[in-house]
């Protein structure tokens, strides 16, 4: 499986670390809404298909990335920086 890092270009999956489901919304730290915290910690869509994910290019430029991956075919449909600001020309 290859993931195209927006900075480094296509790299083997071994250079990346999965950082979890990209659909989660973290409640404000002071929030006492137990349902919101429960949803953040436990609720997952678990689709058989396209899935929003957060990955880190931990063995390369160390950027955190938004990745859309098909959980059935492992096709990588898109990658982008998880945080804006560092705008760099893509090599892909």
């Amino acid at each position: 499986m290859l993931i195209t890092c927006p900075y480094c270009g296509p790299r083997d999956v071994i250079e990346f670390t999965y950082q979890g489901d990209g659909n989660r919304e973290r409640p404000q730290p002071a929030s006492q809404n137990l349902d919101a915290w429960n949803a953040y910690v436990y609720d997952r869509l678990n689709p058989a298909g396209d899935h929003n994910e957060i990955w880190q290019h931990s063995g390369g430029c160390r950027s955190h990335l938004r990745v859309v991956r098909n959980t059935v075919t492992h096709e990588i449909l898109s990658t982008s920086f998880a945080r804006g600001g560092h705008k760099t020309e893509s090599r892909s």
């Binding site: 927006p6 900075y7 480094c8 270009g9 790299r11 083997d12 071994i14 250079e15 063995g59 390369g60 430029c61 160390r62 950027s63 920086f81 945080r83 804006g84 600001g85 560092h86 760099t88 020309e89 893509s90 090599r91």
Partner: protein, 200 residues
């Protein structure tokens, strides 16, 4: 002001550094391995939105104009610079104490400078089979069109991080953690045996 005394730096490769020709060199030496021992290895990082200002500072201080784009770099012999991550750059100089040249230029509003001179070891591989040997270690494209002259890459070998700059058409400079440098050096020597190598 007291004179600054820099500790004498010893090579971590020393016990395994054997100048001369090795391996299958009867038909010629196809790669030359060496430790370049630059005096200064610096890591510069810009806060988001300050990248252009940092690139400008690098140009003013080093005289090296970094090309636009990911991994862009320049290697001029005594001095080198390249991008290795968004907004982050490695700057290398032959002389010790080069961090001082950036003092006052990189303000806290622009970014940070970390002096890694004692934390990294620089290893050079050169020769017609340099790409071939490098491809045994790193899963990236070493062909010249994909990895242009001066460009930098961040990657790893067996989970050990490495930065690589192409400093010549058939020459690469590899920056590895000092604590892993001897292990990497030994592996590099083994990988070079089949093509015949010379340690300089």
């Amino acid at each position: 002001m007291a004179e600054q005394h820099l500790p004498e730096r010893q090579s971590p490769l020393e016990p395994e550094y054997h100048p001369g020709s090795h391996g299958n060199f009867e038909h010629g030496v196809d790669v030359i391995l060496s430790e370049t021992r630059p005096g200064s290895i610096l890591q510069l990082a810009a806060w988001p939105g300050e990248e252009k200002r940092l690139i400008e500072i690098i140009r003013n201080v080093t005289g090296l104009a970094l090309p636009d784009g990911a991994g862009g770099g320049v290697s001029s012999g005594a001095r080198a610079a390249f991008g290795f991550a968004p907004g982050k750059f490695t700057v290398v100089d032959e002389a010790e104490g080069f961090a001082q040249a950036f003092a006052g230029a990189i303000t806290p509003a622009i970014g940070t400078l970390t002096d890694l001179s004692h934390g990294r070891t620089a290893i050079r591989i050169a020769g017609p089979k340099a790409e071939w040997v490098m491809a045994k270690f790193f899963a990236i494209d070493f062909a010249l069109p994909a990895f242009p002259l001066g460009a930098g890459r961040s990657t790893n070998h067996h989970d050990i991080f490495a930065q690589i700059q192409r400093s010549g058409a058939d020459q690469f400079d590899i920056y590895v953690f000092r604590s892993f440098a001897r292990s990497f050096w030994k592996a590099l020597c083994h990988a070079s045996e089949e093509v015949g190598y010379e340690v300089q």
